[in-house]
Subunit: 112 residues, 2 copies
């Protein structure tokens, strides 16, 4: 029929994208397109159209900080670093996720 699958995927991402970004940045600093590619490969985001506005919001909220890095070769990149506040939010999300995810899993386990 229509784009039912896209709608499903989009709505799941609405809940988790921000915290997947935080979790990635907890591992190491990354720049925009690098994050976008990592997430897109795993079905966690569709395009930069959602990622860049999200990163701007996070910067404003204080969960990430940024710095420009100009390599000798190639384009200048804005690198993102997680802050202490970001880490606190991430822990909060992980707690909620651990509460909800098993219930959803159980309900979906009955599906082939």
């Amino acid at each position: 029929m229509d784009g039912a699958r896209e709608r499903i995927t989009t709505n799941i991402r609405k809940g988790v994208l921000e915290y997947c970004v935080l979790a990635l940045l907890a591992r190491r600093d990354m720049y925009g397109l690098e994050l976008a590619e990592w997430l897109a490969v795993r079905g966690l985001t569709a395009s930069e159209g959602s990622l860049y506005p999200l990163l701007a919001r996070m910067r404003q909220a204080g969960t990430v900080e940024t710095r420009w890095v100009a390599p000798e070769q190639g384009h200048a990149r804005r690198y993102y670093t997680i802050t202490d506040q970001g880490r606190a939010h991430l822990r909060l999300f992980a707690g909620v996720w651990r509460e909800i995810q098993p219930h959803v899993d159980e309900l979906m386990a009955e599906e082939t």
Copy 2:
């Protein structure tokens, strides 16, 4: 600080509530408040304010059908039944969930 935890929970629910309802109805027919209580206990919804509009949308989309049941004692209830189309959507969601959930789990596993 603020209602960060509420915001997190709300956004996760945006992705999964509809399909948790479908999965429940795949088990057996239920009525509005019955669904609301089941879901609220497990942190999957906050109030009827999200459930009833959702059920109306689902009815319009054709994933559920309803019938009124007037018991000899007590209030008349509108019971919801999943349709074949609803089952198809549920399978679709289960597929997407199985793709995405492991990635989120892995990212959150690094959190205490």
